[in-house]
C-alpha cells in the first residue's frame, strides 16, 4: 500500500498539471507531492527496519531497506528541486522566455520523471527496473531541451541517443541474465525468473560465462546512465543546458538511481561469480571516471559543466566503493548518495540563480560573488566546500569510510590513485571557486530577496552537515540497506 502511495503522489500531481492550464499553485502542488514522497519514504524505512520487505501489486513492487532508503533520497532531492518550480517558471513566463503551455509541460514531465525513478527503485523485477530507467530517459529529454536554444537541442539529442544506446546494452545484459536463469537447472516458472529475490536465490547455479558477459554489458549499459567513463560524454552537455532544477534532479538523483540498478545486478553477480570479476569491472570504470573527471576539471570554463564533471567524479567514487563490496563500503556508498544528492542539487540550483543574475555561466566573466551577492555566494561557497569532501559535511565521512573499506579489502593502491585524483580535483575546483567567489566588489552588494531559494538550500546544507556529524537516525537504516546487497 505504501509503495503504491509513493507512486501515486507524483502521478496525481502530473495529472493535475496535464489537466489544468498553468497557474502558480500547480508548482506548489508538485512541491507538495515531493514532500509526500519523502514522508512515504520515511514510513517505508520505519516499516523495513522490522526486517521484512513491504510488497504491493501482487509482488510487483517491493520495498526492502535499500529501496526505502532510495525513496527517501529521491524525496529529499525532488523536494528541493520542485520548491523552485513556481519561482523559476513564473520568472521565465514574465520574461517571455517560455509560454504557460511549456511551463505546464515542464511540471508534467518533472512529475513523470519522479514517478519513473520511484518505479525503478520500488520494482521487484529487473525487467520492470529496466523499463523504468528507460522511461526516465524519455521523460527527461524534453526537460533538457526546455530552453529551446540550439545548444539545448544539441545536448538533448546527444543525451537521448547515447543513453538509448546504453540502455539497449543494459537490456541485452538483462536478457542474458534471464537466459542464464532459464538454463540454470533449477526449476522455476518462467515469469518468476527476472525477480530480484528469485535471481538471488538461484544465483549460485547460474552459468559463469554467460553471467560474466551479462555483467559486463550491464555495467556498460547502466553505466552510461550513471555517467561513468567511457560513456560519460552526454553528461556535461545535458546537465549544463538543462534548466537548473532539472539539472539538480538529474545530477542529484537520476545518476544515483541508475547506480542503484547496478548495485542490484552486482549483488546477483557476486553471488553467482564470486567477488573477483565484478570488483575488477567496477574498479576499471571507477578509476577511469576519476581520471577523466580530474583531467577535464582542470581547464574547465563553464560553471555548470564543472559541476557536471564533478558528478562524474563522485559516481566514480561510488563505483570504487561498490567494488570494495563490504558492508561498511556499501553503507558509505549509500550515505554518499544522500550527501551528494543534497549537495549537488543545492549547487545546481544556486548556479542557476547565479546564471540568471549574471547573465552567463562562463566562470571567467563572474567574480567577487561573496562581495556582490552575499547570500547566493555564501550558499554556493558552502556547497562547494561540501562537494570537496570537507568536514563537517557528510561527504567527508562517506569518502573516508569508503577509503577505509577499500583498504580493508586490500585495495590500497586504488585508494592511493583515487586520493591523487581527488587532490587534483580539489585544487581545480578551489581555483575556480577562488575566482568566482573572492575579490573586491565594484558595485553595491545585491541581497537575494526570494526566501524560496535561500531557505530550502540552506536547510539542505544544514541537513548534510547534520548527517555528517550525527549518526542517528541513519546508522541502522544504512546498515540494514547495505546488508541487502553487501
Amino acid at each position: 500500500m505504501l509503495c503504491v502511495l509513493a507512486l501515486a503522489f507524483p502521478l496525481v500531481a502530473g495529472v493535475i498539471a496535464l489537466a489544468m492550464p498553468w497557474r502558480a499553485w500547480i508548482g506548489w502542488v508538485s512541491a507538495l507531492s515531493a514532500a509526500g514522497v519523502l514522508g512515504v519514504g520515511i514510513a517505508l524505512c520505519v516499516e523495513a527496519s522490522s526486517g521484512t520487505a513491504t510488497t504491493a501489486l501482487h509482488g510487483g513492487l517491493r520495498a526492502d531497506s535499500l529501496s526505502s532508503f532510495m525513496v527517501v533520497v529521491i524525496g529529499c532531492v525532488s523536494l528541493l528541486a520542485t520548491l523552485q518550480t513556481p519561482r523559476v517558471m513564473g520568472r521565465e513566463i514574465a520574461e517571455r522566455a517560455t509560454t504557460p503551455r511549456h511551463a505546464s509541460l515542464y511540471v508534467l514531465l518533472m512529475q513523470a520523471f519522479i514517478t519513473c525513478m520511484l518505479a525503478a527503485v520500488l520494482a521487484a523485477n529487473l525487467g520492470v527496473l529496466w523499463v523504468a530507467v528507460e522511461a526516465t530517459t524519455i521523460a527527461t529529454t524534453f526537460l533538457v531541451s526546455h530552453n529551446r536554444t540550439k545548444k539545448a537541442f544539441e545536448a538533448s539529442w546527444k543525451y537521448v541517443v547515447l543513453c538509448s544506446v546504453g540502455i539497449a546494452l543494459a537490456f541485452f545484459g538483462t536478457v542474458l541474465m534471464y537466459f542464464a536463469a532459464l538454463h540454470s537447472g533449477v526449476g522455476a516458472p518462467h515469469s518468476a525468473s527476472l525477480n530480484w529475490t528469485a535471481l538471488m536465490a538461484m544465483a549460485p547455479h547460474l552459468n559463469h560465462g554467460v553471467m560474466r558477459l551479462a555483467l559486463a554489458l550491464l555495467v556498460l549499459g547502466y553505466g552510461t546512465k550513471v555517467g561513468l567513463a567511457p560513456t560519460h560524454s552526454w553528461l556535461a552537455d545535458a546537465h549544463s543546458q538543462a534548466p537548473a532544477p532539472v539539472s539538480a534532479l538529474m545530477s542529484g538523483v537520476l545518476l544515483t538511481v541508475a547506480f542503484y540498478a547496478l548495485l542490484r545486478c552486482k549483488a546477483i553477480a557476486d553471488a553467482a561469480l564470486g567477488p573477483a570479476f565484478p570488483r575488477a569491472l567496477f574498479l576499471v570504470v571507477g578509476l577511469l571516471s576519476l581520471l577523466v573527471a580530474a583531467a577535464l576539471l582542470i581547464a574547465q570554463r563553464d560553471l555548470k559543466r564543472m559541476l557536471a564533471y564533478s558528478s562524474v567524479e563522485h559516481m566514480g567514487l561510488l563505483a570504487l566503493g561498490a567494488a570494495a563490496g563490504s558492508s561498511l563500503a556499501i553503507s558509505a556508498v549509500l550515505l554518499h548518495m544522500l550527501g551528494h544528492g543534497l549537495t549537488k542539487s543545492t549547487l545546481f540550483i544556486s548556479s542557476g540563480e547565479i546564471a540568471h543574475a549574471e547573465g552567463t555561466t562562463e566562470m571567467a566573466k563572474v567574480t567577487a560573488l561573496l562581495a556582490r551577492r552575499p547570500v547566493l555566494g555564501g550558499i554556493f561557497g558552502c556547497g562547494l566546500v561540501a562537494l570537496l569532501g570537507l568536514p563537517p559535511f557528510s561527504l567527508f565521512i562517506s569518502e573516508f569510510a569508503m577509503a577505509r573499506a577499500e583498504v580493508d579489502a586490500g585495495l590500497w593502491w586504488v585508494v592511493a590513485l583515487s586520493l591523487l585524483c581527488l587532490s587534483v580535483i580539489f585544487v581545480s575546483i578551489t581555483n575556480h571557486a577562488r575566482h568566482l567567489l573572492l575579490g573586491a566588489a565594484s558595485s553595491r552588494p545585491m541581497v537575494l530577496n526570494a526566501r524560496s531559494v535561500a531557505v530550502p538550500l540552506v536547510s539542505a546544507l544544514v541537513v548534510c552537515a547534520f548527517i555528517g556529524v550525527v549518526s542517528w537516525p541513519l546508522l541502522t537504516l544504512l546498515h540494514a540497506a547495505a546488508h541487502v546487497v553487501a
Binding site: G127, T137, R148, F153, W157, V165, V175, S191, L296, A299
Partner: protein
Amino acid sequence: MNGSFYVGALELAAGAVLVCAVITLWRRQIRTIVTMLRLQGVALAVVAGVLAWHEHDLGLAFTALLVLAVKGGLVPWLLRRVVRHDPRSRETAPLMNVPSSLVAAAILIVVSYIVTSKLTDLAPSGATRLVPIGVATVLVGYFMLVTRRRAVSQIVGLLLVDNGIALVTFLLTSGVPLIVELGSTLDVLLVVVVLQVLVVNANAQHGSFESDEMRELRD
C-alpha cells in the same frame, strides 16, 4: 518435417534481419533505408511468430503482433515524417565511404560469429544457433551510429541496435516476460517519437539539424 520447416523458417527470417541491416549500410537513399527497416520489423515479427507457433506460447504470439505493428509499421512511418521535413534525403557524405563500410561490416559479422559461439554452447538448439546473426545486427547498427552524419541515419543505427537485441532476445529466451516486452517496445516507439519531435523542432527553430554541425558544446 515440422522440425526442419521450423528451423528453415527461423533461418530465413533471421537472415533477412541481417540482410536488411547490411542493405541499410549500403544504400544512400533514406527512403530505401526506411523500407529496409520496415522489412526488418516484419522479419522480426516472423521470427517471434514462428517461435510462438513452435512453443505454443500465446504471450509470444501477442508479442509478435506487437512487434509487427510497432517495428514494422509505426516506427518506419514516423521516420518517413522526419524525412519529409528534411528536403535532403540522401546520406551525402558518411564519415567512412560505402565500400569501406561494407568491408568493415563483413569483418564485424565474422567477429560476432566468433565471439558468440560461447553463448550458444550453454543451450544449443535450432534457435540459439542463430544468435550470432542478432549480435552481428547490433554491431552493424553501432557502426552506422558512429560513422554517419545525418540525424536520420543515427536514428536508423539506434533502431538497428534495438532490432538486433530484440532478435537475440527472441532466439535465446523466446522473449522476456510480457510486461517487459511491452515496456521495451513502447520505449522504442517513444524514443523514435522523441527523436522525431526533436528533429522537427530543431529544424523549425534553427534551420538544419545535422549531427556533423553539432559542435557548439565542447570542452
